[in-house]
């Protein structure tokens, strides 16, 4: 008899970056890297597990911006161009490292990965969302919905219509993509503002996830801490993140990813090799960038040693065993202590796995296999399965919280990014005004403009831009994105108000910011 549950959640998100006006656009690489290093390895992992009939449950969010990019034909074509370039480079690397077997074996490893990525990409007809959908249909993966553009809701509370639009558009995209209603929801950055659960409720959402202190500081005190969900007053269930399991993975110091045998993220041949040689594979202007081929391990000193896949694999297995062991002890203890089967919720950013932590997907696969074969203390579960088994839970009002730096709103509201809110809030108000003025617009052109206005507003609201401004590095692009979308919104607002829409310009921005094809501006209220 098992004594509790582990709920693994992977939150996958990238902001909408798509620039058809440029032949090459550096920031689009965020998507291509994530496809190669995270999404495809996760898909291949699930394929293996399903094929071997290993019983497992995973929860994943795919944000609407990510879904839109994964389904976009232009980006699909560009991904193929990207991966083909990498394959070419890997071939060259195998030749170049002929007299350095310790590197040549790595070049071969990369070639194998890139070929596998291209193959998987083509097998799913270039649309990876269909891969995730198929695992959901098989019952091993539960995909949850997320806000339209990953807007940070607590700072949108001044114009609640925007928070609702984020949620409603997000759910619409989910339904169109996965042909069913979502049960769960991922609040961007786990940002919860009391009352927003009602917006989830009115859209049929059954549960969402929250940072630990959102529940622990809720009122009244949660009897089971974060080891059982609570219901908000709206009736939506809410699961708190367990920090013990979070820290083992998330911490760059005490966590697994910092192990000296793991691959070093910051050493890339894009920076290391002779300029003339690497030139065709970096930025066309000759700016060195990451290629994805990295030969060194973290090592623990500046004198980096070559990466050793075998040792890294053993480490990943060891860490998976350690993680499982800790969960067993934790769950046994909690079971005796609570006289109830606890649920331990462990959410992670999906892009951490494979991208920053190269061995992360391998670790996850080891973990799932070990949980299946090596222990009987707990099982994997999804939040909705847990709620079916345990429908009766305490009602509390959770506290404002996020999983960001310092646990509240500061990551997105500080000296470096607070200037965006007067503009964002103004735009939200204007959007509400437009919806009021055009309750049911029949004019096709104006309707298109209204829909595009909502797209632009949502795009400006992405939490990513504020986050990047907050970190203070590579801010130029983030500033550009915020300005660009807000300016497009303002122009649309003026044109709609004066009923003088420039159809050519509208068409142009519709083609650039082409996500959410079936958006309805009336969702902003």
């Amino acid at each position: 008899m098992h004594k509790g549950y582990l709920c693994l959640v992977l939150h996958s998100h990238l902001p909408f970056v798509r620039h058809p006006e440029c032949d090459y656009f550096l920031e689009e690489n965020w998507l291509y890297e994530a496809i190669t290093e995270t999404y495809i390895p996760l898909i291949r992992m699930m394929e293996r597990l399903v094929e071997e009939k290993i019983n497992f449950r995973l929860t994943m969010s795919l944000t609407p911006t990510l879904i839109s990019m994964l389904k976009d034909q232009l980006l699909q074509e560009r991904y193929l161009r990207y991966i083909n370039k990498l394959i070419e480079l890997a071939h060259k690397e195998i030749e170049r490292t002929r007299w350095q077997p310790e590197f040549q074996s790595l070049a071969l490893m990369y070639l194998d990965r890139f070929l596998g990525a291209r193959d998987t990409f083509e097998r799913y007809k270039r649309d990876l969302t269909s891969a995730f959908a198929s695992f959901q249909d098989k019952g091993v993966l539960e995909i949850i919905a997320c806000c339209a553009t990953h807007g940070y809701l607590p700072l949108m509370d001044v114009v609640p219509a925007s928070a609702r639009a984020q949620i409603r558009v997000g759910i619409k995209v989910y339904e169109e993509t996965f042909l069913r209603k979502p049960k769960g929801f991922w609040l961007p950055e786990c940002g919860y503002h009391p009352g927003h659960d009602y917006f989830l409720k009115e859209n049929g959402i059954k549960y969402f996830f929250m940072e630990i202190h959102g529940i622990l500081h809720g009122s009244p005190r949660p009897k089971y801490g974060i080891y059982a969900p609570v219901y908000c007053k709206s009736g939506v269930a809410c699961f708190g993140r367990d920090w013990e399991s979070a820290k083992q993975v998330w911490s760059s110091i005490e966590g697994y990813p910092g192990d000296y045998w793991y691959r070093e993220f910051y050493r890339d041949i894009g920076y290391d090799l002779d300029f003339e040689y690497i030139k065709p594979y970096i930025h066309p202007d000759g700016i060195r960038i990451n290629t994805g081929i990295k030969y060194y391990r973290i090592t623990g000193s500046e004198n980096k040693q070559p990466y050793n896949p075998q040792m890294a694999k053993e480490k990943a297995a060891e860490h998976a065993g350690n993680f499982m062991f800790n969960r067993e002890r934790q769950i046994e203890y909690l079971y005796d202590f609570l006289k109830k089967k606890p649920i331990v919720v462990a959410p992670y950013d999906a892009e951490l796995f494979g991208h920053w932590w190269f061995e992360g997907v391998m670790w996850l696969e080891f973990l799932i296999r070990k949980i299946n074969f090596d222990q009987k203390t707990f099982t994997l579960i999804t939040a909705s399965e847990y709620l079916n088994e345990n429908p009766r839970n305490q009602v509390i009002t959770p506290s404002l919280s996020s999983w960001g730096w310092k646990g509240y709103n500061e990551m997105w509201l500080q000296g470096a990014n607070d200037w965006i809110y007067p503009h964002l809030h103004k735009a939200s108000e204007r959007m509400s005004e437009l919806v009021k003025l055009h309750p049911n617009e029949n004019d096709g052109l104006i309707r298109r403009a209204l829909n595009q206005a909502l797209r632009e507003l949502l795009l400006a609201q992405s939490s990513d831009w504020a986050f990047i401004l907050g970190t203070g590095t590579h801010t130029t692009y983030a500033i550009r994105k915020i300005k660009e979308h807000l300016l497009r919104f303002s122009t649309l607002y003026e044109q709609i108000k004066s009923r003088s829409i420039d159809p050519h310009w509208l068409e142009d921005i519709e083609q650039k910011d082409n996500l959410f094809p079936n958006i309805d501006y009336c969702l902003h209220q």
Binding site: L155, K223, G225, D242, F337, L352, W405, Y408, L413, F467
Partner: protein, 336 residues
């Protein structure tokens, strides 16, 4: 004469009041602020967990930045020429407000107040409106924050977790009279610890809750449960970081160099290019491995060259396989 004395008295009173206010503010320097100061002084060495997580999240957007790459984008308007004041919660202790005064409105106030306007101080009046419907007069208490005339936003330390706030932007006239220019929306700061409210049906003893709190927060079963456990746990986990810490998100695995350590460095690698030409339809082997020829029969290969001796037989075979030729460069590399 009497008037002058009265004026002086008022000024002294005002000064005393301001000093009192300052003292109060100092008192409001909560434990959290002290922690923050410690961070600023570099007394806390290890970045908090949430900071480490931010470092990893940032790797998602890991691309080099170069300014010339992006086309020019127009500026956003400086304002919207209207009266507006918005209040946002930052965390349990701090709130943030931004505002805009329409130029028209400001002119009107100036005209109404004339000289008094220029002698007045701009002040944010922060009302504690917890659990009430605020009508402008019924706040539990308020405190003033003096600001400069050019500010259009402000961070306010309320030192009051778990309360609701409303802020007025106003003018404090020389007479002490306060005139409200703008009023914000109401926001609430979250609790800084667990609620003191428990419900009967889901009763949980203090000690068990303390234990659960500590375990959830990753402190294991040895987490503090005795008196003051909340402070203990908080100290371990939510110790905030100085804002500067995030701006220098470099490789977290890189060891920080000791202050004053010299940074000069030099790396030398060698590569060897082997190139040549033959009949376009010939077959060429380098170290026993067939290599592709360009359409004109030329070829070139590039090898990373480690220390030691490399014997590189290059064998060409004619299309009809009747002729064969081998040339063998021998290269020795040595690093001193």
């Amino acid at each position: 004469m009497k008037r002058v004395i009265k004026k002086i008295k008022e000024k002294i009173k005002e000064k005393i009041n301001r000093l009192k206010e300052r003292k109060k503010t100092k008192k409001r320097l909560s434990a959290h602020r002290k922690e923050q100061l410690k961070e600023l002084r570099g007394e806390i060495k290890q970045p908090s967990f949430s900071n480490q997580q931010a470092i990893m999240l940032e790797s998602k957007y890991y691309t080099p930045e170069f300014k010339t790459h992006y086309p020019y984008v127009e500026e956003l308007p400086a304002g919207y020429k209207e009266n507006r004041m918005v209040l946002l919660t930052r965390d349990p202790w701090w709130i943030h407000t931004y505002w805009e005064l329409s130029p028209f409105f400001l002119e009107k106030i100036k005209n109404d107040l004339r000289e008094e306007f220029f002698n007045a101080k701009r002040v944010l009046r922060v009302y504690d409106v917890t659990n009430i419907v605020f009508d402008g007069t019924n706040a539990h208490r308020y405190f003033d924050v003096e600001i400069n005339d050019y500010a259009n936003n402000w961070y306010i330390d309320t030192a009051g977790p778990g309360r609701s706030w409303c802020v007025d932007l106003g003018l404090k006239l020389a007479s002490g009279k306060f005139i409200t220019l703008l009023r914000s929306n109401v926001v609430s700061t979250p609790l800084d610890g667990s609620s003191s409210i428990t419900d009967e049906e889901w009763m949980v003893p203090e000690e068990i809750f303390a234990r659960l709190y500590g375990i959830g927060a990753g402190l294991g079963v040895s987490s503090p449960v005795k008196k003051g456990w909340q402070q203990e746990v908080r100290k371990k986990l939510w110790q905030p970081l100085a804002s500067g810490a995030l701006s220098s998100l470099a490789s977290p695995v890189k060891k920080k160099e000791a202050v004053g350590a010299r940074k000069f460095w030099l790396i030398v690698n060698t590569e060897l290019i082997v190139y040549g030409a033959t009949e376009p339809d010939a077959t060429v082997y380098v170290q026993g491995k067939q290599i592709p020829l360009r359409p004109d029969g030329t070829f070139s290969l590039r090898f990373a060259l480690p220390d030691g001796k490399q014997v590189i037989p290059v064998k060409g075979i004619s299309k009809d396989r009747l002729e064969e030729q081998t040339i063998t460069p021998v290269v020795t590399k040595e690093t001193r």
